[in-house]
């Protein structure tokens, strides 16, 4: 009973900084001249261009997640087969760049793609910024540790004797991997996907800095809606921005729910969320 006391600060924190802002988002979305109304939300929902932006954002976030998984899984697998002390050291190296601010890292990539690499290759009139691929690459760079760590956690928790047993029963390496290791690492895959997909779908600094402002993702769209509302005359109308934020919230909610479903059969394992 007594231990519950320690949770109170966190509950207060959550109420203040998660629940209250959430109430505000809904208030702003449905508030039309002081009364509750669906009219503005409906107007935003029926704007097809906004849905197109959402779709592009989902595509880019999904692409980022796939690349993170394809690149991160082998790394996590190799790490899990190393001696614990070496693996710990290497995973620290993975996280060292994360100690630096996200925006600074993105600026560094901007310089690399705009100047460093093109100059090295002697290109005078071409740069690497401004393409979807550049945006995705920097997103992958920024989020890959969040894929590798849960994967590594769940892979290293797999009981070695299961792999040995698989070999004793006549399975070759490939079969062991697909029949034993891969299914047992599903919790790690699931939390890795969640931890990459959700921040990727909401990212807005990377498309702005690396995409040369050419790609408006959903995060940029929300930012723009709030800025435009603030910049217009009279009292600001945050309805559009709030509605977009709610849509994004629903997307995140759905993807988390789907992921948890996958995760159900694998209660144990390295779930970071």
């Amino acid at each position: 009973m007594k231990r519950k006391v320690f949770a109170y600060p966190y509950i207060v924190w959550m109420a203040l900084f998660i629940a209250v802002p959430m109430v505000f988002i809904f208030y702003y979305a449905f508030n039309v001249d002081g009364s509750f109304s669906f009219s503005k939300v409906w107007a935003t929902l029926s704007d097809i261009s906004k849905w197109r932006v959402l779709w592009v954002s989902i595509e880019i976030a999904a692409g980022t997640t796939v690349f993170c998984l394809l690149l991160g899984y082998p790394v996590a697998y190799i790490l899990s087969n190393m001696r614990k002390s070496i693996a710990a050291f290497i995973s620290v190296l993975f996280f060292v760049p994360m100690w630096m601010n996200f925006v600074l890292r993105t600026y560094a990539w901007q310089a690399i793609l705009e100047y460093a690499i093109p100059n090295m290759l002697g290109w005078t009139d071409k740069t690497l910024t401004g393409s979807v691929w550049a945006v995705m690459m920097v997103l992958v760079y920024n989020f890959i540790p969040f894929m590798v760590m849960p994967l590594y956690n769940s892979l290293s928790k797999i009981d070695r004797s299961l792999i040995e047993a698989s070999g004793d029963l006549g399975a070759n390496g490939r079969m062991t991997f697909f029949k034993v290791v891969l299914p047992l690492s599903v919790p790690g895959i699931v939390s890795g996907i969640t931890m990459v997909f959700i921040p990727a779908i909401t990212a807005f600094t990377v498309p702005a800095l690396i995409g040369n402002g050419n790609y408006n993702l959903y995060g940029n769209e929300i930012e723009m809606a709030f800025k435009q509302a603030a910049g217009s005359a009279g009292s600001a109308d945050y309805s559009v921005g709030s509605t977009l934020a709610i849509i994004l919230l629903i997307c995140v909610f759905i993807s988390t729910a789907v992921m948890n479903r996958f995760d159900k059969d694998h209660e144990e394992g390295g779930n970071l969320l």
């Binding site: 197109r52 310089a111 705009e114 071409k126 940029n220 603030a230 009279g234």
Partner: protein, 367 residues
């Protein structure tokens, strides 16, 4: 860059000198050092002064100097957009004693009754401000009652003369297929749509939906030619020769031209935007005394000259212009001739109509 270091060194020496004389003779002796143009003296005011300004938009040494002269503790906060400032000024717990919004924002702030009329008796140095600039600012702040110009400039095309051979005289060059992928546009609704309207021969404050739709379609068609929409990142890109041209503010252009001599700046003949960032005091200001003293301080000829030499944006201060060397005053980018100014217009607040611009902008950004 070398120039900047020389200047910084000179500043530091000057500053050290001022500091020395301060410590030996006390504040009363300030009048006879060379810091101020007219041997001004500042009374001890004390308290705190909360300033909200754009990034890299003041010589930080000047803040220290002001603090030493007046005993005021300056809290200096930076922002990145007019909209951000508007949010801060509109909120009920605004703590700022002064800030530096652009013209169309000042119109809104005046309309919302958020600004304090300036007490010109406390700003004797306002006499240094050029009359022709005050005539322009008069159009958005009638009688120059609430604001005084701080920095100003034009919007134009910065281009690399090794990549662009013909003279740049028209905005049309931004739609020239020769330069596909080499063209930077400015990531701002009013600026990008504004210059397109000018190219089409319309007013950049137009309230005609048809004209805006025409500009929108032109900008959508420009998509394959465009390198992107940039802001501060365009400077490095242009200095390093990574793009042929950029729509940019004259002050930024002047900075770039200082770093790369292949760059040139032109204000196209169709006309453009002339902008002003003015200093204002919000109604909610606490230290009104210090805010006025700081505005007066900034308008001292010697101080304004130091400030503009640091920022590279054009000063509206005649006493400062008299102190600047040929490098500044002789540059058509820094000091555009009258015929350039005559074809430029200021942005005005559009009220609710701005939503038409915003919708067009959303369509452009979504390609």
């Amino acid at each position: 860059m070398k120039k900047f270091f020389c200047f910084a060194l000179a500043l530091m020496m000057l500053f050290a000198f001022a500091a020395c004389s301060n410590s030996s003779d006390g504040p009363a002796a300030n009048g006879d050092n060379e810091v101020f143009a007219d041997g001004d003296q500042y009374d001890e005011i004390g308290g705190e002064l909360n300033i909200l300004n754009w990034g890299e938009y003041i010589d930080p040494e000047l803040i220290t100097l002001f603090e030493e002269e007046t005993g005021v503790k300056v809290n200096y906060v930076e922002m990145t957009s007019n909209e951000e400032m508007l949010i801060k000024l509109k909120s009920s717990d605004c703590v700022y004693d002064m800030c530096f919004p652009s013209e169309y924002i000042i119109e809104q702030l005046i309309a919302s009754d958020l600004l304090l009329p300036l007490d010109m008796d406390k700003i004797p140095n306002a006499k240094n401000i050029m009359q022709d600039k005050l005539e322009i600012t008069n159009s958005f702040d009638p009688g120059n009652k609430y604001s005084l110009p701080y920095m100003w400039g034009t919007v134009g095309i910065l281009y690399n003369t090794t990549m662009v051979e013909e003279p740049v005289t028209s905005w049309g060059i931004l739609w020239d297929e020769k330069y596909a992928g080499q063209i930077w546009m400015y990531d701002s609704v009013r600026d990008s749509i504004g210059i397109t309207l000018k190219y089409l021969g319309y007013d950049l404050n137009t309230r005609s939906e048809a004209e805006i739709a025409e500009a929108r379609d032109l900008l959508i068609a420009q998509k394959p030619l465009r390198k992107g929409f940039g802001t501060d990142n365009m400077r490095a890109s242009m200095i390093n020769g990574k793009a042929a041209m950029a729509v940019i503010y004259s002050g930024d252009a002047f900075v770039c031209m200082d770093e790369n001599e292949d760059l040139a700046y032109a204000v196209p003949e169709e006309g453009s935007n002339v902008w002003f960032d003015n200093v204002v005091i919000p109604k909610s200001a606490k230290n009104i005394e210090a805010a006025h003293a700081f505005i007066n301080f900034l308008n001292d000829g010697a101080i304004a000259a130091r400030n503009t030499e640091y920022i590279y944006y054009s000063t509206p201060n005649q006493a400062a212009m008299d102190r600047l060397d040929e490098y500044f005053t002789g540059s058509e980018t820094y000091n555009p001739p009258k015929e350039v100014l005559d074809r430029c217009t200021v942005f005005h607040d559009l009220g609710d109509f701005v939503s038409v611009y915003n919708e067009a902008w959303n369509a452009i950004k979504m390609k």
